[in-house]
Symmetry: C2
Subunit: 166 residues, 2 copies
DNA sequence: CTTGGAAAGTCAACAAGGCTGACATAAAGT
DNA sequence: ACTTTATGTCAGCCTTGTTGACTTTCCAAG
């Protein structure tokens, strides 16, 4: 940590293969940490990451359509549907027929869904908060900048669309 | 991007739920980008991410034992073995019986394995290089600091052990 | 030298969560 | 009236994770 900090200050950035490989491994290990807490919670609810992702984005933008969620998640409708069906059956998600366009289904979290969402995001936010606090404000800005630059253009578009909504 | 930059400068860091949620989503979308290039390459070789991870760490530390690899990857030996077997059968990985302890199997990439490794890591490094260049040196340092702080202690240990080896 | 236990591998069965293809239905748009 | 769109569903496949049971090999301690 000490060396990365000094290196980020005023010195030049040497993009050696070694540097880049460390970044790659940092992503690998950090993503494991990132998903660890929700995974534990989901497990004794009988759900998986796919359910988490659906819940997250339905909470993020209540009333979004199935097609929108599909494109955000980047999976097939068959795959999403399997997850969505169980969430609806279990009473965590509600699917309402569209007012203007009755073909569309608008998705909302129920009260029970909201409870699970807060349980999941609470754990994840807590880890993120600790990481942010440990690393400091400058690090946080850099973190987001690099991640954003790492996205595919299409994903970046999705990310930025969601970015300033709430 | 402009707002995250100014925010990271001298202003205080407000760890609002909204801020944290943006970090969470950034991880989600960035990880997709992070794995996209290797996934494409692996596909027309008939392999998956599990193969990539094995190849990466075998290349990283040639001669490591199966047990070591197991603990780095965090999967069961049955799961790893399935992947490892195909890689050995296909002549990308060589498994040598340990000299001192003949129970141990030491893993090495063959020439063909090295070729695929360079193809995979080349693509991934290129994306990382571009992201680093776009974000700048300060951002890179922050990126690594936050990721490191986000890891579980056990993973961080693994990461740091590998960190200064090469 | 025998035996306990560690390291490695294997077989079987299962689940989650991706995928494709085919097909059905309702509603909107032309 | 016809086409397109949004959604859902059935069937089947693959990868990659899991558990449990079992074997073989071999080091090391008694």
């Amino acid at each position: 940590m000490a060396d990365t900090a000094s290196q980020g200050g005023e010195t030049l950035l040497f993009l050696t293969d070694e540097q880049l490989r460390k970044g790659i491994e940092a992503m690998f290990f950090a993503y494991r940490g990132f998903t660890a807490d929700p995974d534990r919670i989901l497990e004794h609810h009988g759900y998986g990451r796919a359910h988490h992702r659906a819940i997250h984005f339905i909470n993020r933008e209540p009333g979004l359509t199935v097609t929108t969620l599909l494109s955000v998640l980047g999976v097939t409708k068959q795959s999403l549907n399997r997850v969505l069906r169980t969430l609806i059956e279990d009473g965590l998600v509600e699917s309402r027929v569209g007012k203007r366009d009755k073909r569309e289904r608008h998705l909302y979290l129920t009260d029970a869904g909201g409870v699970l969402e807060r349980e999941l995001s609470g754990a994840q936010r807590e880890r993120m908060r600790l990481a942010y606090r440990t690393a400091g404000p400058q690090a946080v800005a850099g973190f987001r900048q690099v991640l954003e630059a790492m996205m595919d253009p299409e994903m970046r578009r999705q990310y930025q669309m969601l970015k300033d909504t709430a």
